[in-house]
């Protein structure tokens, strides 16, 4: 249901409140996405380090 706004103030209060929530969810999601994206990099780095240690 599309809400009805009678003043600019009520419109801004409504949209900005939701924007802040979206921002918070987005920041947390991007953090999760970053871990998802780079997860295997850490595995690879560890593998490389282990290989180096094995050589030494």
């Amino acid at each position: 249901m599309h809400p009805v706004f009678y003043t600019l103030h009520s419109f801004l209060l409504h949209t900005e409140s939701i924007t802040y929530l979206v921002m918070l969810i987005s920041l947390l999601s991007i953090l999760g996405f970053w871990f998802f994206l780079t997860e295997r990099d850490n595995d690879q780095e560890e593998e490389t380090q282990q290989r180096h240690q094995g050589h030494h």
């Binding site: 924007t19 979206v22 987005s26 991007i30 996405f33 970053w34 295997r40």
Partner: protein, 390 residues
Amino acid sequence: MSGENTAVNKSIFTPFNLITGVIVIIGLFITVIRFTKGLGATTNLSNHTPWGIWIGFDLLVGVALAAGGYVTSAAVYIFGMKRYHSAVRPAVLTGFLGYLFVVIALHYDVGRPWRLPYPFLVGWGTTSLLFEVGLCVALYLSVLFLEFTPAPLEWLGFKKTRNLAAKLTMVLTIFGVVLSTLHQSSLGALFLIAPSKLHPLWYSPYLPVFFFVSSIIAGLSMVMFEGALSHKAFHHKMDETHLSESDPLVLGFGKAAALVLAGYFTIKIVGVTAGNHWHLLTTPYGYWFLVELLGFVALPCFLYAIGVREKNVKLIRFTAGWTVAGIVLNRLNVSVIAFNYHLPAGERYVPHWMEIGISVFMVTLLILFFRFIVTRMPILYEHPDYKETH
């Protein structure tokens, strides 16, 4: 003799040459009509829609997809990612030709093309966004030309001039980043003047930010997509360095593209939220908006991430092509499809076949120029005389 003739005939009449030859002939035919009979004879432009696909595709898409030049140069020279060095020349060449054909295509679109230098020579319209875009594009085309010059100078054997041009690399890269930031965003800002014409789902006060961020995505994806095509067509021209750097480049750029796409998806959602346009998502235009947002932003973001995690270069290259298509769709949505959305169907703009013909002509000429340069100049390989200079 007849045997020799057959050999020559075979080499000239290849499917590629035949198709491009036909397109060039049709393009030249339309060019004559455009410049002798005017815009009315060749376009469906009107007072409602003064900007058609020559702006929506040739200019907006052309500028976005040419962003690979500044993105790659910035990564290599400013952020010091020297491992991607072999991608700089193809990216700068694509950028240079992209901007060159943007300017050439603009001559078809403006009513009096001989007046294009007027904003710089006659009256400086410093309060106009279009002036800023024009000035930036003119300056950046010059910057890209200078960035590209070491390759033809190496090819021609002008060592001293080449070394002088190579010394300018860093300062040109900085100019390129500054100018690109300005005009990529200003192209989006041009539509801020038409809040009643552009559909609310695409109209946003953040349009300049959307255009700039998506230009980074376009640049990264275009470098990978163009690299994939070059690998198929010009594999024999690539040296060992280029071939060995290819896969790490795709993985690195794929990761960057995934992250920037995630950011772009977020700010697009913020755009809908700030305008409180959620209810429009269940309208036909809303479904189309979701196709763009989910199919060409969220999906490639996810595919890039999977490709990077699995080290699947093929998937990343496919996703790069998909993302390039998404950028084309986004620019056409803003400038043509969602523009004048309130007009009745009969008054809506549908491009004339000659408009499409000129756009295809421009893309074909760009490919022909790219092929001519790549097969002659040191673009996909390092010139043996300058190997130690990198």
